[in-house]
Assembly symmetry: C2
Homo-oligomer: 373 residues x 2
């Protein structure tokens, strides 16, 4: 007779599913399994004592050595789990390591991947989870405020370069001022984008070198709380000095697209529709999307994504968006326009789909403005 | 006829193999494949332009959309790669996602995991890689120096609590002082341990709350360079005030065990032998290892591990250590003693196995002392 349990083999640092299931983070891979309402983790001597005090309530913590004495590999431990619980196989996340799956298959166990969400409930945040995300978002806003402050304090030299505290202001310096603000709040920044001028035309370019006046500076700030593991995500784009008319026009269009997207978020709304409406708006405002030898231009990424224990998680607001919004999701809305000739504009808020009212609630409180004197 | 290529599907942030192969880091999964001396990465519109300018020399950068128009899933893109290059299958890292492997197997492709190192050459560092690791180690040493400075500046109140700048000194404050020092050097700290007293008896407890005089404070500092991706790793344990005799005795034994381990590292040495010799020394010095209801005590983790683009990589200095050292490895040597009654002592250096001389070269320059006045 078939008897199947859930199984994860991952580190808490590498897998949000493991962090969610175990309730605490380990740098190395551990085993979690659940034969049915009895979630259990197996820990090495190195982690056992900490796991006993930190594991999610309801999770049984066992020593891997006690469970399967002498076992030296995850494969042997899983086989022992199967024997003890009379299991014929396991369902695993699609990210489960193929090497281990292959070894277990060869031992005669069924191993079936769950495509998509392993814990679908992770897409629907509790009030407590939404609050944790908001804490991280507030830290991102504090970081942004510090970045704006630095840009306000900067002056423009004869070459139209930014100067702060008697030194040329670089992306690196601006990033550090933002990051240190968030670090003091217990957040881990892992690649804050401060991309000026043409670098901003590459959405994931983190930015380097001297920042120039009169050109957009994209600040995309996504800290993770070191205590809760939840992320915040925030983008604003500003110009110090005088933007060229095309930049102001693009900023206005992106801001309108973001507001349009936010207004469409509610229970029952189709994520692909929301993306498409924002994209159509940008096209109708005169901004074409396409690709040339220089790379892509226009609006060429998804409008938004879920945020939680992963910075990018389900659901996606993109042409591939699958199911209608159900309530409890926290998603970004972040339209952008990118042109290799002059740079990029991206504006990103976070929105909570309220299970209580069905409406989208914008969690972001950072102000919207483009030009800094 | 069988024709097999190498294949990786991972993010640069989640996979050191991908970072090594692609030469730059992406937050989302990308495809890398090599049908034989023609390594290629496929990038979305979001990453294409950045990839063109940042990829490792010799790597061809293609748009995923151009390569397989209309493909919406990695599975479809891989099938198209197989068709275009007339491949019958792929070898993949053991961490390759099982969901994708399973889908490709069902389409008739061979998918074989490489157990252990996918790029065995990653274990053997070039001079340039060793220098990058050393840069990160120097940053860890700068962080440690700041931590020591804070402890020196602290005073002890009537309750034997540490006080710094008129406030109780906590693990969190000490960690922040260490981390900010490293952040200013372009490093990303991802879980710096500042564990005092009984918390130090759990090797991976990061520490929280007020620090006490007369008890060991374990500082395990492992920053990653934001530019190179290479890690450094350093641990020192100190007491502010007057240690109990058992703590001083344990410190002396751990220091001797570390020096013994370091002296045994050379080309041809067996990693398991090095671990065992250090463990035997600690036992002979009177420190027993075992486990009780309170958890494990004594020396219950591996003596060391390789460090490179991963903080924990091959080879391991542990009873499971496999092959003799060959030259080029960078490993930690980090014996420790942990007792739930009073805390823990761990001392960690990094050692380079010189291909030129065959000897172990201690890269760490941080001083050794236990008591801070």
């Amino acid at each position: 007779m078939e008897k199947i349990a859930k199984l994860i083999f991952a580190s808490g640092e590498g897998s949000a599913d493991m962090l969610y299931a175990a309730g605490f983070s380990t740098p190395d891979e551990i085993l979690w399994f659940d034969p049915g309402k009895a979630p259990t983790i197996l820990l090495s001597a190195l982690e056992y004592s900490r796991g006993k005090s930190s594991a999610r309530p309801g999770v049984t913590v066992l020593r891997d050595s006690e469970f399967s004495p002498g076992a030296r590999k995850a494969e042997e431990v899983v086989l022992e789990i199967a024997r003890k619980f009379k299991l014929t196989g396991f369902v695993v996340p699609e990210t489960f390591p193929f090497g281990l799956a292959d070894a277990l298959l060869h031992k005669g166990l069924q191993i079936r991947p769950v495509m998509g969400s392993f814990f679908p409930e992770r897409e629907f945040k509790s009030e407590a989870e939404m609050q944790k995300i908001t804490v991280s978002l507030r830290a991102a806003e504090a970081g942004l405020a510090r970045g704006i402050e630095v840009l306000r304090e900067s002056r423009i030299d004869a070459k139209r370069q930014l100067v702060w505290k008697h030194k040329l202001l670089t992306s690196e310096i601006l990033r550090w001022e933002i990051d240190r603000t968030m670090l003091e709040l217990g957040m881990l920044p892992t690649g804050t984008i401060c991309a000026g001028g043409l670098q901003g035309a590459q959405p994931h370019n983190t930015g380097s070198g001297v920042l120039l006046a009169d050109h957009p500076i994209v600040m995309d700030i996504f800290p993770r709380s070191q205590s809760s593991g939840y992320w915040g995500d925030l983008t604003r784009t500003v110009v110090k000095g005088t933007p060229y008319p095309i930049m102001q026009k693009a900023y206005d269009a992106v801001l309108e697209a973001r507001k349009l997207g936010e207004s469409l978020i509610r229970i029952g709304a189709d994520p692909a529709m929301i993306h498409n409406r924002a994209a159509e708006y940008l096209g109708s405002a005169g901004f074409q999307t396409g690709c040339s030898d220089n790379g892509n231009y226009g609006f060429f990424h998804g409008l938004g994504h879920g945020v939680g224990l992963e910075i990018h998680e389900m659901p996606r607001l993109s042409p591939r968006g699958a199911r209608p919004l159900q309530g409890g999701e926290v998603v970004t809305v972040e339209p952008g326009l990118y042109y290799p000739e002059w740079g990029g504009i991206r504006l990103e808020d976070m929105v909570y789909v309220s299970p209580a009212t069905g409406a989208g609630i914008v969690l972001t409180q950072a102000p919207d403005f483009f030009v800094i004197d």
